[in-house]
Symmetry: C2
DNA sequence: ACATTTCTGTTGTTTATACAACAAAAAATA
DNA sequence: TATTTTTTGTTGTATAAACAACAGAAATGT
């Protein structure tokens, strides 16, 4: 069993609790009945159809937001990591079932917060709750922008354009033409919605043409 | 010049101001320096690169959320209408430039609210602001879920699957197998990221096979 | 160090889509 | 009503991607 205390500092500095003092944070964690849960690789934290009433904060590890298409093809919507939240939007939209799976990519620790119970108790009256909802609003905003960017990535017509758009966006995020990506080839293909082998082929073509250089997960944009 | 008063009831019942009494709403509208703005068909309300500090509420008309791809292809991310908000996520993420265009599809009236100014004034202290931020959180949640659904639609492999996924999702939204869609053929193609003529062809094939029936914008799912 | 599994790149073939060009229908305008 | 413009459907062709099958490299486990 993992102890919450071990992660206290990390929690305190996470976007969810940003701007709170120790007193507010401790009160909130208690009110939320906060607990740490451990998942192994390839476990499902959330399934399509689940009704979500908890806020999940990733303390350690990586999680895929996925969807299985009608005939079993996997769609990766996003890859989340440390300090990211899971399925916040389903907490905000009450009584809406999850339309995604959250699947661990590696061993993962998650902070689980009983959002529903807490909000009904304190009626949004306390200061800490006011800070919290402000933070949640900002977090969702960011998620929204990320989703739009993902739509841009997958909406390109050719594999080449998808790759170039994705890589440019990553470079911009990392503020450098040289960066590591979070996906392996198969996952990147599922994220961009293309065939892995065709994508591999296109990657090496881009390298031969001198547009990019890469080695494993390390990429560099030339030009 | 359009008068705000003419739309007062609609504004009062919009999701942004849901749950407020008249006093709170009036105070907020004043604090926001609320004003109605008119746009003609094909005008741009928001451009890529804009810094957004206003909340936009559509009172009348329709608006496309679009993105122009590198080589001039148009991507329609969403079609918004009455009581929808524009670019809320850019208000939530401060100092982030818009990565989308908002373009009117028809003559449109928009309520513009100076969010920045208001929040700095009342420091989130007043009740009405608390209700507001709660509402905004919920609205963003819904937007988020819609974006995920859009990703599902465009992530299908074939035109046929994109169409079937899109139409099923619409049927579910409208709670009926018979429904109207908001797009004309070209716009639907830009939304699903496919060639219009190929899509038209696939539509008639689906009709011949008896899977769907349609006439102009009216569709029916058979099975 | 070896065996096994996972990951990545390469190639040929089949299939689906984009693209272009056009015709018919519908809508808008004079 | 006639004319013009916009929208939609149809077809053939060129192109790009999916798929399958495989080989080598890298990572993992024993």
């Amino acid at each position: 069993m993992e102890k919450l205390e071990n992660y206290y500092n990390q929690i305190k500095n996470s976007p969810v609790f940003f701007g709170m003092n120790d007193e507010e944070l401790k009160g909130l964690l208690e009110c939320f009945n906060a607990r740490v849960r451990r998942y192994e690789k390839d476990e499902m934290i959330i399934r399509q159809g689940d009704l979500i009433s908890n806020i999940y904060l990733i303390l350690k590890g990586e999680v895929n937001i996925e969807k299985d298409s009608y005939w079993g093809r996997r769609i990766i919507i996003a890859r989340l990591g440390k300090n990211d939240n899971l399925a916040l939007s389903f907490v905000g939209s009450k009584n809406v079932e999850s339309n995604i799976d959250a699947v661990t990519v590696s061993d993962t620790l998650v902070l689980v917060l009983g959002y529903e119970k807490c909000t009904s108790m304190c009626q949004n009256a306390c200061t800490r709750h006011k800070i919290l909802i402000n933070n949640l609003f900002q977090i969702l905003s960011k998620e929204n922008i990320e989703l739009i960017q993902k739509i841009e990535n997958v909406s390109q017509k050719t594999i080449r354009d998808k790759l170039l758009t994705y890589l440019s966006n990553e470079a911009q995020k990392k503020h450098s033409n040289s960066f590591e990506i979070q996906f392996n080839r198969q996952d990147l293909a599922d994220y961009l919605n293309v065939d892995r082998s065709a994508m591999s082929f296109e990657l090496s073509k881009l390298q031969k043409e001198g547009l990019i250089e890469y080695n494993k997960n390390k990429f560099e944009l030339k030009s």
